[in-house]
């Protein structure tokens, strides 16, 4: 079991990352503004931020690619909802490690296949693969003993 204080702290921290990642939608009006934004600068070292692989809203990209956005979104959602699910619905889950390693392999395979141009995924497929990794990470941290 993970203490409530830690879960709250992690949920707030990951939510902050997610909110910063989507904040260009609400604070910038053009790609030029986005290109020079502190949000883009902050994530520049951890995400390629290719415009074609980033989810747009009203023509403005997020600060991270679709895959990273999925990871941050579901880390945040996971740390808020998985403890509730654990408390009221599923008390034990024995396969959290297998789940995490499987999702990690899926995301590495997906990334590698796109890297060598074997297939071209969509931003939605990137978002989904990222969200599965984010969710499985929270499941692992909360359920694994």
């Amino acid at each position: 079991m993970v203490s409530k204080r830690i879960l709250l702290f992690i949920a707030i921290s990951t939510s902050i990352l997610f909110l910063i990642a989507i904040s260009p939608y609400y604070f910038h009006n053009s790609i030029v503004e986005w290109y020079n934004s502190w949000q883009k600068l902050m994530f520049a070292d951890i995400c390629h931020q290719k415009i074609s692989r980033t989810i747009h809203q009203n023509g403005i990209p997020a600060a991270v690619c679709g895959r990273c956005l999925g990871i941050y979104a579901f880390l945040s959602i996971g740390f808020i909802f998985i403890p509730i699910i654990k408390r009221f619905l599923i008390e034990k889950f024995r396969y959290s490690k297998v789940l995490l390693l499987t999702m990690f392999l899926i995301i590495v395979t997906d990334y590698s296949l796109q890297w060598i141009s074997l297939y071209e995924g969509s931003n939605m497929s990137r978002f989904i693969s990222g969200s599965l990794l984010g969710l499985s990470t929270t499941v692992f941290i909360i359920y694994h003993k």
Binding site: V2, I10, T14, L17, Y35, F43, D45, C47, H48, I141
Partner: protein
């Protein structure tokens, strides 16, 4: 005398060691990326060579928390280690990584004062080669020049340190918790 538990022993040894090593790696890869950008022909692309070295260095640095937990447990093998303690080790490691890479970046600008100026010029040359309307191009050039000059000022460095501490801190906090789960299976609440 009772043996100390992992949770009572200071973790700063592991945090400092890991933070310095990973901070150095981040700095070296960022410098390599910077020189690659300076030396590259302006392609007009939105993604430059420094982005790939930066991406690799940060992905690596995100696992500093896990490595610090591993080192802490190697030095103090008595389980169990609290999950919250692992998170703290990761958070502290992330902040040390950000601090070390920022300070080394500052020192590098003293060693090679032309580095930042050359990087600004290379970035502007790349924007000039971009296939975008002329007014947007000019706006972007002005903004990039102002941003990069500010980046190497004291205020810019403090801002860079705060942003990278936030990012590295949170990511390493998560990997620190993963480290406790992987390396200290009997972790406490």
């Amino acid at each position: 005398m009772e043996p100390q538990q992992s949770n009572d022993i200071s973790y700063w040894n592991a945090v400092t060691l890991t933070g310095i090593i990973f901070g150095l790696i981040v700095f070296v890869l960022n410098i390599i990326g910077g020189y690659a950008t300076i030396g590259a022909e302006p392609s007009g692309g939105w993604v430059g060579p420094s982005m790939f070295t930066g991406l690799f260095s940060c992905l690596l640095a995100a696992f500093g928390g896990m490595v610090a937990v591993r080192i802490h447990l190697k030095q103090n093998p008595q389980p169990p280690l609290q999950l919250g303690r692992g998170a703290m080790i990761g958070l502290a490691t992330g902040i040390v990584i950000a601090f070390v890479s920022t300070v080394l970046g500052l020192i590098w600008n003293i060693i090679d004062p032309s580095f930042s100026q050359n990087l600004i010029e290379a970035s502007i040359a790349n924007i000039e080669a971009m296939n975008i309307p002329e007014d947007q191009k000019q706006e972007m050039i002005d903004s990039v020049a102002a941003q990069m000059q500010q980046m190497y000022s004291v205020g810019g460095l403090v801002m860079a340190f705060v942003l990278s501490s936030l990012l590295y801190g949170i990511l390493n906090m998560l990997t620190g918790m993963l480290g406790v789960k992987f390396y200290s299976p009997n972790e406490e609440v």
